[in-house]
Amino acid sequence: MKTLLHNAVLVCPNGGERPGSLLIKGDAIAGVGTLDAPSDAVAVDCGGKLLAPAIVDLGVFAIDKPAFAAGGIVRAALMPDQSPVLDDPGIVQRAAAIGKPELWVHPLAAATRGVGGSDLAEIAILRDAGARAVATGRHAIADAGVMRKILAYAADCGMAVIAHAEDTALTAGAVATEGETATRLGLAAAPALAEALAVVRDLMLAEETGARLHFRQVTTAAAFDLIRAAKRRGVKVTCGITPAHLVLSDIAMTDFRTFAHLSPPLRGESDRQAARAAIADGTIDVLTSGHDPRGPEEKRLPFADSQPGAAGAETLLALALGLVRDELLPLDRLFALLARNPAQVLGIESGTLTQGAPADLILIDRDAPWRIDADAMRAKAGNTPFDGLPVQGKVVRTFKGGVEIAF
């Protein structure tokens, strides 16, 4: 079966932005550019909308198919701190299969057994069971010796390590970043420096071991500076961020809004500006939703007792398009952050509009206005710090392996 998507504006991290058509044959892209319609193809008029690679979401905490489909996400790398933890081959296999056919779940193997931070998990066995990378989970590895072993062993296995970067001694008990807001609210807070301390340690260990290291979220000026310098030295490091840290500062926690309780916590305005600069200059490689739906049992609590995290899958694209409108980066590079780069971290063939690649595609009405509404979200829970925010840009059609996914 062939499908020709024509009259589109093609957006590819490798091929740039241009008008054209795209031919799907089976589950792969058979052609892209200025194409004649094959006689046996079903023609779909894209009406001049954007046709882009579907989003590869690196580091989600829940498999949430309706939210992913609506958000244009067809591949989700699942964090290991699930219940049960992704530290057993059977559980990894089950996780990898659970999303099909609409969603490909790429399990991230727990770096340590039970994500306990001490004993190495069976990384090679987990890889063979379908894990695409190794992750430390919600927390950093406190012990530098353990982290060194994780990096070295994962490198042996040809897998990247996805790390959470916060010095656990400094962040113990903290729910906010030190600053005026935390002081006024009387919230236990950790210095923003806790991130840079963890980053510098892990960078040095990655440099020594030659491992591929990806920081799932980096949010502070000091840490970006360290990563920038490490990249220049040739360290195999990449980093990501969620829209929350690009759009919001710690002021969003005012009135004890638990939807703004995130991990790492929202930072001060100077760090937010540093994050935007790091998007613009290419220091940040990946934009992820950090999708972490939390119900009222976990959020309708005093701030310090609530669980961190936000449901981000449905808002990722619209907020990301805001970065293009703010002229922080061009559209084709945005899709490097949303699709190609996360696919590369995982070592999968996806994230571009190139011939032979999987036909994982989204059609986007980039100007469609809508308002983020926590109550109307398709996610398992509507815990978004962006409730009520007017945004532009919506996925109108999603294709996974050439098959359209309804949402």
Partner: protein, 329 residues
Amino acid sequence: MQASDHSPSAVLKGREAFPHRHLTGISGLQPHEITFLLDEAEQWVGANRAHAKSDKRLEGLTIINAFFENSTRTLLSFEIAGKRLGADVVNMHAAQSSVKKGETLIDTAMTLNAMRADVIVIRHGSSGAVQLIADKVACPVLNAGDGRHEHPTQALLDALTIRRRRGSIANQRVVICGDILHSRVARSNILALTALAAEVRVVAPTTLMPAAIERMGVTPFTDFDAALAGADVVMMLRLQNERMSGAFIPSTREYHLRYGLTPERLARAAPDALVMHPGPMNRGVEIASSVADDPARSAITEQVEMGVAVRMACLDILTRSARGVEGWA
């Protein structure tokens, strides 16, 4: 004792004078609203000193003191305040109640709400817990201390004490010394005193000083002696050992050496400087007994007295709307 020279606020009347449904903190209050609360409390000071202390204006109303964190003096103060106004006062020691069985805070709040309380007074160990309950219940909520966030009636009673003893709050140099990091008393006092135009200095070792405290309009010091120069009021805070999980200070001995208020140290303040402490005191740690017990300088017992008056005023004001007091509909 010097009576206040502050005349009751006359500009705004009724609901206009205090338009808030709850008292969850000093944050969000306008200076004239704080002054209104103090003026109202002033009237209860005299009444409490009279022989017959009872007033029946809250007769038939039910006040629930829901204390999720242990307290003796604050609970007693609220209980006396409510009873002197004629209310039925119920004390709920939530620290030993169904909360331990897994009931959420909101469940507890909804239960109290269903029991048709007319005022709920809450103390809780988590910052923001009182606001969370206030958003869920139909009756006024009064914050009796939430985590390290706010303790508004303590700040009001401190302000009333200062105003009565010093004649005014404006332009007074107030030094707050102690564990600022963990102190809700410090936060509420900073908000109230700066709103009323006092000069506020905060003193603590850096390990007990919250970040960006200067953004709250105060001057931070680590040197107590330097901060004391010319102080009109010296407010000592309790060293909250129970909140200190790490090594914030090397020892109480060293703390006393650097931050203990002794007669010699107090001599650096203004000759008539007032000494305050929210209690309970760690004698010989943050304050020397000779200072705490000096009737000419110490206002510590007067603070306790003002506490009842302030709480009576707050309970009276917060229930006026429900009681149909003229101008408060």
